[in-house]
């Protein structure tokens, strides 16, 4: 079972054939799955409840068994817990490791509950605490956050019913993408990946000549009548090509085939055909 999403599994027709039998035997965690009558059983879709983590499952079992969270019958709950994991396994559902860790914790707890108290430790007054104490505290803490999550959920639901205005012209004129710290890192990683790829490609690519570059520039300017030089430079795949691109611009300016225009200081430079 994935921890993030409600698990949905579609079983093949073979499994579907066996479905009614399975259906009567599935009764784990007290959950009584409802199976609508199988009309001709080509597909079987199983929808499992969502447990956001092992503590969720454990809380569910405790509630299911109607036992006190302060006095968990460890053996019983452990058994139920393991049955649930077994069901997941039978259904071939990948379980997050978290659930197995909790299983180990429970088994360990169960065995410690069975052991007689160490008389020496008792003498020191240290082992008087219930071995379940830590788990109980965790569960209580978890219940609080679960309730908080529920509160957030209802807030979000109300909030989703409230709408802000549509986008205005002034927003579009000022399109904003908020960038956080991690965006900076993500962007950097992308650049590094891109860089690596380009280095690899460069080895194989055929080298462009000065004449090729002049032709490319000439064609680009002619076809559009005007060309932003930054766009032209961006096509350069290596430093060598960049140098060639620069030289080809100088060459065409010298030959009076193009003129360069810069509309504002530090603004983009545009090449225009003089033909």
């Amino acid at each position: 079972m994935k921890t993030d999403e409600t698990s949905e599994i579609e079983m093949t027709s073979h499994a579907a054939a066996a479905a009614p039998a399975v259906a009567t035997t599935i009764n784990v965690a007290g959950a009584s799955p409802e199976i609508s009558s199988n009309q001709d059983g080509e597909d079987l879709k199983i929808v499992l409840g969502e447990f956001a983590g092992p503590l969720d499952l454990l809380l569910h079992l405790i509630r299911q068994e109607q036992v006190s969270i302060y006095d968990i019958p460890v053996a019983r709950i452990t058994e139920e817990y393991l049955r649930y994991l077994q069901l997941m396994k039978d259904l071939d559902i990948a379980l997050a490791g978290d659930f197995l860790v909790m299983a180990a914790t429970l088994i360990d707890l169960k065995s410690r509950m069975l052991l007689p108290r160490d008389p020496l430790a008792e003498g020191e007054g240290e082992d008087l605490t219930d071995p379940r104490a830590e788990l109980i505290n965790r569960l209580l803490e978890h219940e609080k956050f679960k309730a908080a999550a529920q509160m957030l959920w209802s807030r979000a639901t109300v909030e989703r019913a409230v709408f802000a205005r549509a986008e205005l012209e002034t927003d579009k004129q000022n399109p904003e993408v908020a960038v956080g710290l991690f965006d900076l890192l993500t962007v950097f990683q992308k650049i590094l990946a891109r860089h690596k790829e380009e280095v690899l490609m460069e080895i194989e690519r055929e080298e462009i000549t000065m004449a090729d570059m002049i032709d490319r520039l000439r064609n680009m300017v002619r076809s559009a009548g005007e060309l932003n030089l930054f766009r032209f430079f961006e096509q350069a795949r290596s430093r060598r090509e960049l140098v060639l691109a620069f030289l080809s611009i100088l060459e065409l300016v010298r030959a009076s085939e193009i003129s360069l225009i810069q509309r504002e200081t530090f603004g983009d430079i545009v090449a225009r055909s003089m033909g």
Binding site: V101, F145, A147, L152, V158, E159, V162, V177, L181
Partner: protein, 223 residues
Amino acid sequence: MKAKEQRVEVTSDTAEMREVVEGDALDQLPPEREDDSAGLAGQIALSASELAAISEALIFVADEPISARTISEVLRIGQDEVQAGIEQLAQEFNARNGGLHLREIAGGWQLATRPEHHEHIRAFLKSRPSAKLSLASLETLAVIAYKQPITVPEILEIRSVQSPSAIKTLLDKRLIVAKGRKETVGRPMMYGTSKEFLIQFGLKDLSELPSIEDFEDLAGGAS
């Protein structure tokens, strides 16, 4: 700008925008007080109703909740005066019982529709409620909201899980942001909730969250 301390806005072409705004739209406008841009030093004398009207206009134009402070800076008018003006305006808006209300959210003011009209609005926008957070993400968010600033290992410990995928989801959705490093071994990154969190959950600020102890009764009683 969202979550001031954490974010930088990105835009493709600011120069262009200026031209459009200044060139096109605004030339057609009737001239306004001429001393506005010149009189950086002096305050502008505005009547209460003018102040309210301009605040309303700015709140409408702002693409996210706008604070009284921002408005007071733009208009060069005392913040208290602006705050009082907006509160008055909000009362009027809300007494009007129209389609809009003026509310305080995420440290600013915003005009928004009323929840009771959501079905008609959805029918018109043909929108469905936006993607919901998974239960795991929601529980993780609750832990972060109440324990911030908190590190990844601490979150995982509380939730008894090993996968940080829910934390990553929250980061991707911009509901949480980095909040510096913890001065312990390895200096792990700490996380807290963002301004976007306040907006999506309709909170003025974090103090509006009920105390975590309030959930204790619920928790204990459930068993």
